[in-house]
């Protein structure tokens, strides 16, 4: 590929959205562009957006799949509110995404797909490319499909197969436009199609044709560069939340020295964790695809009883089904990690869209007084550390822990500064080996005074044979007990031992220490809240940000933090579930700000809302 000959412009940040039919390979295209961008050292944040249908009818609005990548020469917090560039592979992709495009944005359209039939499918009476309706944008018509087919003439591929490589043409063109290094993509193609050399050649040829088209055509007069971001030194990789979470669980196995047992039932958007973990058997990770959600958590609990790190991964509907078993784990006081990758509910809801509406279920969604620990990751790469933290709490305090991820962090990606394994938390645990009573008996509910955890005596340990179960147990002995005072004591003890788990204080970001308004968030809203706060501060409006990782128990300093500000605003992708907790617990008249559209907050939405609170109270 030739050296750049066109004018080069420097940009500090760009947001590109690749959009096409769900069969057009837009996720792959976005992934590869992201990988090239990561190699260059830009900071990145990505957001895929796809329908639940695997192949909705071709060319229709419900079938549109997109991938947005935001990259910059500074550290960024979100995948970007609005794209600067839209790549639309067909009329449906154009129509479905136009509303998000600011005036002046570049639109690259695949003109080959703008046939009368395709236009009609999405309700265009006339081609928007010709009727002047796109005037506010900078439209670049490109005959992507036919140029791809022409480039592959003589490759021996059928026309249909050749057309399938059009996403690589688009990737080549965009890679040229933004001066991306392409070697990793060529290597990727060699790996992906290792068994089909003709497809390696075809996809490479399509990529090169796209690159060269950018170079030679007059449609594109400028090339752009985005310089590397200043990032902490170290080795990075780009990672999605689900992948990071799975690696965190593998790491928890290594750092605890315990085998990991995952019981899971396929469910969007959590299945990728099952897929990833199933590849890591060499670490002693067992994955069981159970017959249902209940069996999945049951098997994980059974494995935990036997001395494994028991894990189950699911989404909201699955947690609802697992509730009774989670209660059993609370009664048995065994470690268990339950991952809920939240999606829009209730019921089936919108399985591929994000929401934070399972907080109430995580905190309260069980019968009886059934407290457990709840934590939430704030970004894709943070899922790794959150998984380790969930395992740490579960193993140390012998309790189920719910890890509340969501579709936004699960499928979004960002660069991850790879940690040193030796610096990850030490999760080793001691199983009970000896009787713990003066008279040589074993008391399964005699607690460690420090952690309030009961001994973990696994089957196979001679002399510690004991029975546990869901019936109320007598303190210390664990025998069945209907004694009223004992039940009262045990209920309070179970509550106190969760409340007593030491969790780090919540940190407040109030750079000039002069803010009167605090914005409090949890989980995946960290990025957009942070971006909004940054902009407000740049505009001279002071605002403080605090973000909760631990939702049960809450950090000990939270009450004092809330009391230090005149106003507390809580943006959530639900109808105010954390706000409810904060109001009830701290008697703080927090201002809820809620969005339940299935989409993450944009920084702009939060900025204008927060600006109003800061200025007008």
């Amino acid at each position: 590929m030739s050296a750049p000959t066109k004018r080069v412009e420097q940009l500090d940040r760009v947001v590109i959205r690749f959009a096409g039919d769900s069969g057009d390979g837009m996720q792959l295209t976005g992934d590869r562009f992201t990988s090239e961008t990561a190699q260059l050292g830009n900071d990145i944040s990505t957001l895929p957006n796809f329908p639940a249908e695997i192949r909705a009818p071709a060319g229709t609005l419900p079938g549109v799949s997109s991938f947005q990548v935001h990259f910059a020469d500074y550290d960024i917090l979100t995948p970007g509110d609005a794209p600067n560039v839209l790549v639309a592979m067909n009329p449906a992709a154009l129509k479905a995404n136009l509303a998000d495009l600011p005036a002046g944005a570049d639109v690259i359209v695949n003109t080959d797909e703008f046939t009368k039939r395709n236009l009609t499918k999405v309700g265009y009476a006339a081609s928007p490319l010709e009727d002047g309706s796109l005037e506010q944008w900078s439209v670049h018509p490109v005959a992507l499909t036919s140029m791809t087919v022409a480039a592959l003439e003589g490759s021996g591929l059928s026309k249909k197969d050749a057309e399938r490589a059009k996403n690589m043409f688009a990737l080549g063109l965009l890679s040229w436009m933004y001066s991306r290094p392409y070697e990793s993509t060529l290597r990727f193609l060699e790996r992906k199609f290792a068994k089909r050399p003709e497809l390696v050649a075809a996809n490479k040829a399509a990529f090169t044709a796209g690159w060269n088209f950018g170079e030679t055509t007059e449609t594109f007069s400028v090339r752009y560069e985005v310089k590397p971001a200043r990032m902490l030194p170290g080795t990075y990789r780009n990672i999605t939340g689900n992948a990071a979470l799975a690696l965190g669980l593998v790491a928890a196995g290594v750092r605890s020295g315990l085998p990991v047992f995952l019981g899971a039932y396929p469910i969007t958007p959590a299945s990728d964790i099952l897929h990833e973990l199933s590849k890591h058997k060499r670490f002693g990770v067992t994955t069981m695809q159970a017959e249902d959600e209940i069996a999945a958590v049951g098997a994980a609990l059974g494995a935990a009883y036997g001395g494994s790190l028991g894990v189950t991964t699911t989404s909201g509907p699955g947690v609802a089904l697992k509730g009774e078993t989670i209660s059993l784990a609370i009664a048995l006081e065994l470690p268990l990690v339950i991952v809920d990758v939240q999606r829009a509910g209730p019921s089936t809801g919108m399985p591929t869209k994000t929401e934070q509406a399972d907080l109430n279920m995580a905190l309260y969604g069980r019968h009886g007084e059934a407290p457990l620990a709840v934590i939430a990751p704030k970004s894709p790469s943070d899922c790794f550390h959150a998984a380790l933290e969930a395992a740490r709490i579960a193993l140390t305090y012998r309790t189920p822990v719910i890890l509340l991820s969501d579709n936004y962090v699960a499928n979004g990606s960002e660069p991850w500064l790879l940690p040193e394994v030796s610096e990850l938390p030490d999760l080793r645990v001691e199983f009970a080996r000896e009787p713990n009573d003066a008279d040589g008996r074993f008391l399964p509910y005699l607690r460690d005074p420090e952690t309030m955890a009961r001994p973990w005596a696994i089957p196979g340990t001679p002399g510690l044979e004991h029975r546990i179960g869901g019936l109320e147990k007598a303190d210390k002995t664990g025998d069945i007990s209907y004694d009223p005072a004992n039940h009262d004591f045990m209920v309070r003890t179970r509550a106190a031992r969760i409340e007593g788990i030491p969790v780090p204080d919540v940190e407040v970001d109030d750079p000039d220490d002069n803010a009167r308004v605090l914005v409090l968030g949890w989980g995946s809203t960290y990025g957009p809240i942070g971006a909004a706060c940054r902009t407000l501060r740049q505009r001279g409006l002071p605002i403080a940000q605090a973000h909760l990782r631990h939702l049960s128990p809450l950090p000990a300093n939270l009450g004092a933090v809330l009391a230090a500000y005149d106003k507390v605003v809580i943006p959530e992708m639900n109808l105010g579930q954390l706000a409810h907790v904060v109001r009830a617990r701290y008697l703080v008249d927090a201002i809820p700000f809620n969005q339940v559209s299935g989409l993450p907050f944009t920084a702009a939405t939060l900025e204008s809302m927060l600006e109003d609170v800061v200025k007008n109270g």
């Binding site: 990075y236 069981m288 209940i294 069996a295 494995a303 030796s422 546990i468 179960g469």
Partner: protein, 338 residues
């Protein structure tokens, strides 16, 4: 502490808990039979785990001085699957009832059997809900009059053995609470079986369904109705072997008739159709009820296959777990900032 010294005795398997079934319950006989049979296994008691669900039978683990978990309704096979798969060194037993295993937990039962998890599943079938005080169960006969069905139940019962066989169970047997010798012989065969062993135990609930199995228990009637299956022996019953189980030509199933050439029982027949045909001889009325081992065939257990997958993967791994983890974290496209 060192390993428990073998051999053990009945006493070693009795826990210090007071047994709280109703006086006269068939569960006592089963408990006694299991406790006195356990030493025969030659397994240290710390390596034995009883997992149960909910129901009268599910109190069982409390009375065994082994490891045990009294879990939640219907879920014992799922919990035991996780335990057995992750701990193939253990001998894991599931104690369940007709409501627990066949109603609320039906899904877990069939999937445990399909996977052939190395579990010994003892289903105490009393054809009634005891702990909730007398509603009909999924094995109650059609038309059963109970508290919840004052004019008779309208749903047909499961035949538990047919169900287990339909789920591809590799070991399927039936026995009776009051026949200790037979019960123990079936438990012995179940314990020796690699993979899932499903044992239906007819158990009398003297409070809510007394005498449900009287026809095959009463010395005055049982010989004309009870068919004892013995490996390699002709299947006959009644006074002087009056009745034979035969396979009429051109028929799908088996039939009981007077005289004729009886089938010779072979539990190792690979085709489950044979054991299924045997299971169909008995219905709600118990008029011809086989007991013994219906099917005992070999198929790799889930535990074994999963253990092998892990072992194979570990055999190919090099380096310490920490080194492997570092390698895993650094896999894929990485870049370095200096």
């Amino acid at each position: 502490m060192g390993k428990t010294l073998l051999p053990l005795t009945v006493k070693d398997f009795k826990s210090d808990q007071e047994v709280r079934w109703c006086p006269g319950c068939g569960d006592y006989a089963i408990l006694a039979a299991v406790q006195s049979f356990m030493p025969e296994l030659g397994i240290p008691r710390e390596n034995i785990v009883f997992v149960s669900g909910i129901g009268c039978s599910s109190r069982f683990p409390y009375y065994m001085n082994t490891y045990g978990m009294h879990s939640i309704h219907g879920r014992a096979p799922a919990i035991a699957t996780g335990l057995s798969t992750s701990r193939p060194d253990l001998s894991v037993w599931v104690v369940t009832g007709d409501g627990d295993a066949l109603s609320i937990g039906g899904n877990h039962l069939i999937h445990a059997l399909r996977r052939n998890v190395n579990l010994k599943i003892l289903l105490f079938n009393n054809r009634i809900y005891g702990l909730t005080k007398g509603q009909y169960s999924p094995t109650s006969e059609l038309g059963k009059i109970t508290k919840s069905t004052p004019v008779g139940s309208a749903d047909s019962p499961f035949n538990p053995l047919s169900l287990a066989l339909g789920a591809e169970a590799t070991f399927v047997a039936r026995t009776i609470d009051s026949d200790r010798k037979h019960l123990q012989s079936v438990l012995r065969a179940a314990a020796e079986h690699e993979g899932s062993a499903f044992v239906e135990i007819y158990q009398n609930c003297n409070i809510f369904n007394d005498g449900a199995f009287e026809l095959i228990k009463d010395p005055g009637t049982r010989d004309d109705h009870l068919i004892r299956l013995e490996q390699g022996e002709p299947i006959t019953f009644g006074p002087e072997g009056r009745w034979s189980v035969v396979h009429p030509e051109g028929s799908f199933g088996l039939r009981v008739q007077e005289g004729g050439t009886p089938l010779r029982h072979d539990a190792t027949v690979d085709d489950p159709a044979y054991a299924f045909a045997l299971s169909r001889l008995s219905g709600s009325d118990l008029s011809t009820t086989p007991i013994g081992v219906f099917r005992d065939v070999t198929r790799p257990s889930y535990d074994e296959l999963i253990t092998k997958q892990l072992a194979d993967a570990k055999a190919q791994a090099t380096g310490t777990p920490e080194e492997m983890l570092t390698g895993l974290l650094h896999s894929g496209d990485t870049w370095t900032i200096l």
